[in-house]
């Protein structure tokens, strides 16, 4: 056997330099004032941002649910397809990810703008009078759309990889024992897909909650999410590293709590079934 303990050393150094130490710096900023003295005032001033946290979590959750609803049947279809069809479908899912994230979001801007593709098209066919436009951009809807568009593959892929492992004969056995298609899904496919769902939810919800690019480009100044709030605390006038660090820390704790809750839901489901 090859000795493997030393092999992880470069990664350990990497983690220490670029994750553990910066995290320590964030914590230090969150609990100190400008003079470098310990304080809890940063933490108490977070109350002002309760609304921002609320809207971030709400929009992130809505986007996650939409992703799950869209991805589940899609992932199932891919997992049951023949070899070559399956590979092609997975590639199509991945295709948008080969394009730059900013580019994709800018593309949505030009589609949703007041003089964008959709409004121009509606005017052209006469569904909108000249000079009027539907306000599509700078809405919460546009933000959710941007999240779903950008993060959908992160829901499809873990679901697909778990579902691909479900043996066809297990599905046939359920049918054989009298289950119709809905019962097969409810009693066999969904319970067996739970691990994929959980990693999909995590992989969509976490970046969705903390995004600031999507809100900035598609939400305008109307929607302020926690990511945007953190950004303004580190860049430009009125920057306050202490508040910014505290916001980051609180966001991190909230995400950890959300993940723990989903983990418990999974466990509860298992207990109920067994």
């Amino acid at each position: 056997m090859i000795k493997s303990r030393g092999a992880a050393a470069p990664f350990a150094v990497w983690m220490a330099l670029f994750t553990v130490i910066p995290l320590g710096i964030v914590v230090w900023f969150a609990f100190t004032d400008d003079g470098g003295n310990f304080t809890l005032s940063n933490l108490s001033s977070i109350v002002d941002y309760a609304g921002t946290f609320g809207i971030s979590i709400a929009l992130g959750a809505i986007a996650t649910v939409i992703c799950l609803v869209l991805a589940f049947p899609l992932a199932y279809t891919i997992s049951r397809a023949q070899g070559r069809v399956q590979q092609t479908m997975v590639m199509i899912i991945m295709l948008p990810m080969w394009m730059n994230f900013l580019l994709r979001t800018y593309a949505w801007m030009s589609i949703l703008e007041n003089n964008g593709f959709i409004n121009q098209l509606l005017r052209l066919v006469g569904l909108l009078p000249e000079g009027h436009s539907l306000s599509l951009i700078n809405t919460n809807g546009a933000v959710v759309l941007g999240m779903v568009y950008n993060f959908l593959p992160f829901m499809v892929l873990p679901l697909y990889s778990v579902m691909a492992k479900i043996d066809n004969s297990v599905i046939e056995a359920a049918q054989d024992l009298g289950s119709n298609i809905f019962q097969v899904f409810r009693k066999v496919i969904i319970p067996l897909s739970v691990p994929g769902m959980l990693s999909g939810i995590t992989m969509v919800f976490v970046p969705a909650v903390s995004t600031f690019v999507i809100t900035k480009l598609l939400g305008g100044s109307k929607t302020l999410m926690i990511g945007d709030a953190i950004e303004t605390m580190f860049i430009g006038q009125g920057a306050d590293y202490h508040i910014g660090a505290t916001l980051s820390l609180v966001l991190m704790v909230m995400i950890l709590i959300c993940m723990a809750v989903t983990g418990m839901v999974d466990k509860g489901e298992e207990d109920e079934l067994s």
Binding site: D167, S169, V170, E172, A173, A174, Q175, D176, L177, G178, S179, N180, Q183, K187, V188, P191, L192, E270, L273, S274
Partner: protein, 381 residues
């Protein structure tokens, strides 16, 4: 034996990707019967089972259950249950919930479910395993859970797709007996798919031998073994020496330039036929007293008997004998009329039954004693 038909397949044809898997198959199965579909892989036996189960729909032909056409009936509405090749147990459920699955789908009464689960676990010798997780069970135990799960639904017909293939030999033998007992005590129809001829012979009321998407022979195990209808069946079920012969008249056949009495009749005069002689039916006598004489070219000890390959004028026979005859000894054989089975010529004639290039592909253990290159060289001289 019941005589009422429960399942009837009429003129079933199925193709996958343009390749015919079943070709005009007709099969009637009686209620309460243990029927085995036997054949090599790719013969269409599993497809036949899946048609009955409702997982494959034929291109043409009809499936009748109790006289009613099941053409459009999906799997979940059929009164049959399947035991799948790799058991296909639900990995997220424990033993009890696996067994109860079908009854819960049918929204049966809770007390009734509990009672049936206990009864089924008792039937398959798994009392007390209710709460065990599937992945903590051995292959044999998983097999039993699969049986309990299928039977808990109280099916009229149980379909078994090579259920014992993954078990080791000893366990397989035990399970054969157990399955047969379960079938007898419940009195339901079993349709059993296997490629193992011994399994088929020892368990079945009726054996259906299949090859190339067609039924080659249907009969009792004794019929199939003693009166094979063509060279394929003779070769697939046990060992056979198959020779070219000519039927001179009823009860008189000629091969190797000699005439022999036999028990078969109903052939045309001078009709070319295949003659089957089972290796265990041949009596060895001193060379000067034999109907035919030959030279021993190889001997393998098999425990119960010696498998002796004997060269008769360039055609090698297999003879099973309890006496040891060393290589190169010259022996004679005597054939009694009941040892000789006559078959009509078929597409399989000439393909099987000559041990000149004998290899033990169907045996589990390789045999170092037979030197194939030496055999081939001898066959040429």
């Amino acid at each position: 034996m019941h005589t009422k038909e429960i399942i009837s397949l009429k003129d079933i044809t199925v193709s996958f990707d343009g390749e015919k898997v079943l070709d005009g198959l007709n099969l009637n199965i009686s209620d309460g019967e243990f029927v085995t579909l036997l054949g090599p892989s790719g013969c269409g036996k599993t497809t036949t089972l899946r048609i009955i189960g409702g997982f494959v729909f034929p291109d043409s032909g009809n499936v009748f259950f109790d006289g009613k056409d099941m053409a459009d009936l999906p799997a979940h509405k059929r009164q049959v249950n399947t035991i799948f090749q790799r058991y296909a147990l639900f990995p997220h459920l424990n033993v009890e919930d696996n067994v109860a699955f079908g009854m819960r789908v049918q929204r049966k009464d809770k007390a009734e479910i509990r009672e049936t689960v206990d009864h089924m676990l008792k039937l398959v010798n798994l009392v007390g395993f209710n709460k065990r997780r599937i992945d903590t069970l051995s292959g044999g135990q998983q097999q039993r859970v699969a049986i309990a799960r299928a039977l808990a639904n109280n099916p009229r017909v149980l379909l078994l797709d090579e259920p014992l293939a993954a078990l080791d030999l000893k366990l397989r033998k035990d399970m054969q007996v157990e399955l047969k007992n379960i079938q007898k005590s419940l009195g339901i129809t079993f349709i059993y798919v296997t490629h193992d001829q011994e399994e088929a012979l020892s368990m079945s009321d009726t054996v259906v031998v299949m090859d190339n998407g067609k039924i080659q022979q249907i009969g009792t195990p004794q019929d199939i073994y003693n009166e094979p209808q063509n060279a394929f069946v003779a070769d697939f079920i046990g060992e056979s020496n198959i020779l070219d012969g000519i039927m001179h008249e009823d009860y008189l056949v000629e091969f190797f330039g000699r005439k022999f009495r036999c028990l078969d009749a109903g052939f045309d005069k001078k009709e070319p036929v295949d003659v089957v002689i089972r290796p265990e039916d041949i009596d060895i006598v001193p060379a000067d007293k034999g109907d035919l004489t030959g030279t021993v070219t190889a001997v393998t000890f098999k425990g119960v008997h010696f498998e002796t390959i004997v060269d008769f004028k360039g055609f090698k026979w297999m003879i099973q004998t309890t006496d040891y005859y060393p290589v190169d000894s010259v022996i004679g054989i005597v054939l009694n009329p009941e040892d000789i089975h006559i078959m009509k010529k078929s597409e399989y004639s000439g393909e099987f039954g000559d041990y000149s290039s004998y290899s033990e592909e169907f045996d589990e253990m390789a045999n170092p004693e037979i030197d194939l290159t030496e055999d081939a060289a001898e066959a040429e001289t």
